[in-house]
C-alpha cells in the first residue's frame, strides 16, 4: 500500500515535470525567429501567401496564445509532436525510429562508466597515498577536462585511422546483410568506440566521486568500530566503507545518466551513430525546430525515467528511507 502511494506520487511528480517541459517547449517554439507558420512554410519549401494562411488556420496560429497552448498539449496527449517538413515525416516516427540506437549507446556507456568508475575510485581510495592511486586520479582528472567530442575524434584517429582496429563510424557495416549473432557482433564492434568515449567523461566523474566518498566514509566512527572488532582491512573496505560510500554515487548516477543522453549528441555526431543525438544535429543544421523540440522533450523524458529508476535503487540500498516512509 505504502509502495503504491509512493509510486503514485512519483508518477504524479513526473507528469508535472513533463507538463512544465511541454509548456517551456511551447514558448520556445514561439521564441524561434519568425512567425511559426513562416518557419514551417520555409521548412516545407513553399512561400506563397495562400499556403501560409492555410498553415495558420490548420495549426490554429490565428487563435489566442492559451488556445494554442491547449491545442499543443492536446496534440502531445494524442502523441502528435508535429510534422517535420524537412524530413517529410511525423516527428514522433522519426524519434521512435532513432531511439533504440541511442538507448543502446547510452546504456552501454552508462554500464561501462559506472562499473569502471566505481572500481577505479575504489582502487584510488585504497591506494590514496601510493603512486598507483595518484595515477588513477591523474587520469580521471585528464578525462574530466577533455571535451567529449574531441576524445571521440582522437579515438577514431588512433583506433580506426592509424591502427585500423575498429570501424570509425556507423551502426553496422554498410551493405552487409548479416543477421542474428553475426549482425549483433557487427553492431557491438561499431559500439565499442562510441560507448567508450561517451563513457570516459562520466567514468572520470564516478571515479572522483567514489574515491572522495570512500575516504570520507573511512573517517566515520563505525569504521573504527569495525577495526576494533579485529576485522581484516579488505572486509572493512568492502562491507563497511564501500556500501556506505555507494549511496551518494547512486544519486549522482541518476542525474548523470540523464545528462548522458544530452552528451550523446556529440558522440553520435562524431561517429555518425543513427540515434536521436545525431537526429538532433541534423535538425540543428536544418533549423527544423519542431523536430528539435520533440527530441528535447524525449531527452527530458529519458532523464525522468532514469531518475525514477535510481530512486528505486536508492530505496533498496538504504534501509533508513524505507522506514521513514
Amino acid at each position: 500500500m505504502r509502495y503504491l502511494s509512493l509510486i503514485a506520487s512519483r508518477l504524479l511528480k513526473a507528469v508535472l515535470v513533463l507538463l512544465a517541459i511541454l509548456i517551456l517547449n511551447f514558448f520556445l517554439i514561439h521564441l524561434a525567429p519568425g512567425d511559426p507558420a513562416m518557419v514551417m512554410a520555409g521548412e516545407a519549401g513553399a512561400t506563397d501567401a495562400q499556403f501560409i494562411a492555410d498553415l495558420r488556420e490548420r495549426f490554429g496560429l490565428d487563435q489566442s496564445l492559451p488556445m494554442q497552448l491547449w491545442h499543443y498539449l492536446a496534440g502531445v496527449l494524442t502523441l502528435d509532436f508535429g510534422y517535420s517538413y524537412r524530413q517529410q515525416m511525423p516527428v514522433l516516427d522519426l524519434i521512435l525510429e532513432r531511439l533504440p540506437a541511442t538507448l543502446l549507446l547510452t546504456g552501454a556507456a552508462f554500464v561501462i562508466s559506472l562499473g569502471c568508475g566505481i572500481v577505479a575510485g575504489m582502487l584510488a581510495a585504497m591506494r590514496a597515498k601510493r603512486p598507483s592511486g595518484s595515477l588513477i586520479m591523474g587520469l580521471a582528472l585528464l578525462f574530466y577536462a577533455t571535451p567529449l567530442y574531441w576524445v571521440a575524434m582522437m579515438a577514431v584517429l588512433v583506433f580506426s585511422v592509424f591502427l585500423g582496429w575498429l570501424p570509425a563510424y556507423g551502426y553496422d557495416t554498410v551493405g552487409s546483410d548479416a543477421t542474428g549473432l553475426a549482425h549483433a557482433l557487427d553492431v557491438a564492434e561499431h559500439l565499442i568506440l562510441p560507448a567508450t568515449t561517451l563513457g570516459l567523461f562520466f567514468m572520470a566523474v564516478y571515479t572522483r566521486m567514489t574515491r572522495a566518498s570512500m575516504l570520507s566514509v573511512a573517517q566515520q566512527d563505525f569504521v573504527k568500530t569495525a577495526r576494533a572488532k579485529g576485522l581484516a582491512p579488505g572486509m572493512i573496505q568492502r562491507r563497511h566503507i564501500l556500501r556506505n560510500a555507494l549511496l551518494p554515487i547512486i544519486t549522482l548516477a541518476g542525474l548523470q545518466a540523464g545528462q548522458m543522453v544530452g552528451g550523446a549528441v556529440l558522440t553520435e555526431t562524431v561517429f555518425a551513430w543513427p540515434g536521436i543525438g545525431r537526429l538532433m544535429y541534423e535538425a540543428l543544421m536544418q533549423r527544423d525546430y519542431n523536430l528539435l523540440l520533440g527530441i528535447f522533450f524525449f531527452c527530458a523524458l529519458l532523464v525522468i525515467l532514469f531518475n525514477m529508476l535510481t530512486d528505486v535503487i536508492y530505496r533498496l540500498a538504504d534501509p533508513r528511507i524505507k522506514e521513514a516512509a
Binding site: R2, S5, L6, S9, R10, K13, Q220, D221, F222, K224, T225, A226, R227, A228, K229, G230, L231, A232, M235, R239, H240, R243, N244, A317, D318, P319, R320, E323, A324, A325
Partner: protein
Amino acid sequence: MSEPLLQIERLTLALPEGADRRYAVEDVSYSLAAGEVLCVVGESGSGKSMTANAVMGLLPPGLRVTQGRALFDGADLLAMDEPTHRALRGRRIGMVFQEPMTALNPLMRVGDQIAEVFEAHGLLTARERREKALALLEEVRLPDPPSALRAYPFELSGGQRQRVMIAMALALEPQLLVADEPTTALDVTTQAQILHLIRDLQKRRGMAVMFITHDFGVVAEIADRVCVMCEGRIVEMGDAREVLASPRHAYTRTLIAAIPGGVAAPARDGADPAPLLTVEGLNKVYRSRGGWWQPRREVVALDEVGFTLGRGETLGIVGESGSGKSTLGRCIVGLETPDSGGIRLAGTDLRTLTGQALREQRRHIQMVFQDPYASLNPRIRVGMAIAQGPIANGVPRARALERARQLLTTVGLDAAAADRFPHEFSGGQRQRIGIARALALDPELIVADEAVSALDVSIQAQVLELLERLKTELSLSLLFITHDLRVAAQICDRLIVMQKGCIVEQGSAERIFQAPSHPYTRELLAAIPGRHDDATAAAAPAAAPRMP
C-alpha cells in the same frame, strides 16, 4: 595482586608537527590487573583517550609512538605486527566508543554487526553466530532481543545502541574492555543504566576495564583505581576511594569539586521577589510536514507550561534531551513562536506586540548560547560582534565599539580582544565574549541555554562564577537551562524540572534536591553519578569542597 594484565610503561606519543604541543601523552605508565576497573580521568586534550587508542592499535594518522611499551599478557602491543594485533582486537580486548549514534554501520542489521565479530576471528557457523548474538542482546538487557537482532541502528535509541556496542565488545569474552567515554553522549538516567550494566558484566565475567572519562562522578560510581591526566601527563594515581576522599594534586581537586558533594543546594534568600517574567499556558507542537508520502508527525515540545521568574532570581530549567527545555528558552527569547500561551515581561505581553515595540521589548531579554565555537561569527571581529546589537538599535558605531571594549573588561578579558577574530580565543574565553554580547543591550533577563555544557569542568566553574558576579553587579535575572543537575545546584535559586514538554515539579532548589516529590525528579537525582542515593548523599565519598 598477581601479574598485571596490561602494563603501560613510559609511553610517549608524539603529535604531528604544528600541533599546539609536542606530545599527546608523555612518559605515561600505569598497569591494570585482571578483574579491575581503572578510570583514566582528564579534560579534553589531556591525552586520556590516546593511550587507549595506542593499546587498540587505532591511533589516528599523524600520531607516533616515540617511546615506551604496552604489555598485554606479556606481549608488547606497540611492537606487534598488524595481523597479530588484529587477532587480539575484539577477541581479547574489546572496545566501546563515545558516540553510539555513529559507531554502528547504518546499513547493516544489528544482528549481523554482532555476528561479524565471530566472523572476523573465524569462529562458529553462521547459525551459531546468530544464536550467540541473540544471547548477547539478552545479556545486555535490550528489550525484545529477537526483533532488535533484525533492527537497523537508526531504529534504536542512543542507550540501546550503546548496549549493542557493549554486546559487540563482549562477544568473545575479552579479558580487557576499553571504554572511551561510553556514557558521555547519553542522558543522565540512561548513563546510570549503562554504568550499572558495565559494572555488572565486569563483575560477572571478571574482566579488566579501562574506563576513560572526564567525570569524577562516574569514577565514584565505577572505579577501583583512578589515574588523573592533565596535558598528556599523569598527575595523580591511586585507589579510587582514597583519591576521591583526599586528592593530593590541585588539578584533581578542581575536577572533584565539580561533582555533587551532597548536591543539596545552599538555601538562598527566601524573600519572594517581584515577578519579572510570567509565562502562562505555553504550548508548542512541532509538526514535520507531510511530504509526498510521509504522514505528518507531531512532537509535543511544550504542554501548558507556566511559571514566573522574579527580579534578581536565577531560575533553573532542568530536563533530559527531548524534555522541551530548550524550546521553552527559545520561545521566551523569541527565536521560536509558541502555538498559544502568554509571555509577559514586566507586565507587557510580548505576544501582542509587533514591529518596533516588540524589538524594543526583546532587547531586554538576551541569550547566552551553548556552543562557544558556533556562537561567534568567524568572520566578524569580536568588538563588532558585541557592538552590532547596539548599532542595530541606533547607537552610533563609534560609541557602540567603545562600549564593547568596556564590556570585554567587565567579563574579564582584555579590551584589546575587540580587534581580534573569534578563532584566536579558547572555548571559555569565547563564552565570555558571548556573555559580553548579551550584556551589550543592557538586558534585564538573560537566558543561558546550556551555557557551560560544552566546557571542561574547570572552565565551567569560572564561567558560572562570572555569571553569578554579573547578576549581582548588574541586577540581572537569569533563566538557566541545563541538563546537568550538578550545574543547576551550583547556581540556581529555584528549579523547574521538565519531562516530555511538561513541568513535572518546581520549587526552591534546596527543596527539590532534598525532598523531590515527583518520581521523575527522584529518578534524575538518583541517576547523578557519584551520588549513591539521596538518603546517603551527605555521606557520599565526595566530601569535596564545594565551589565557592
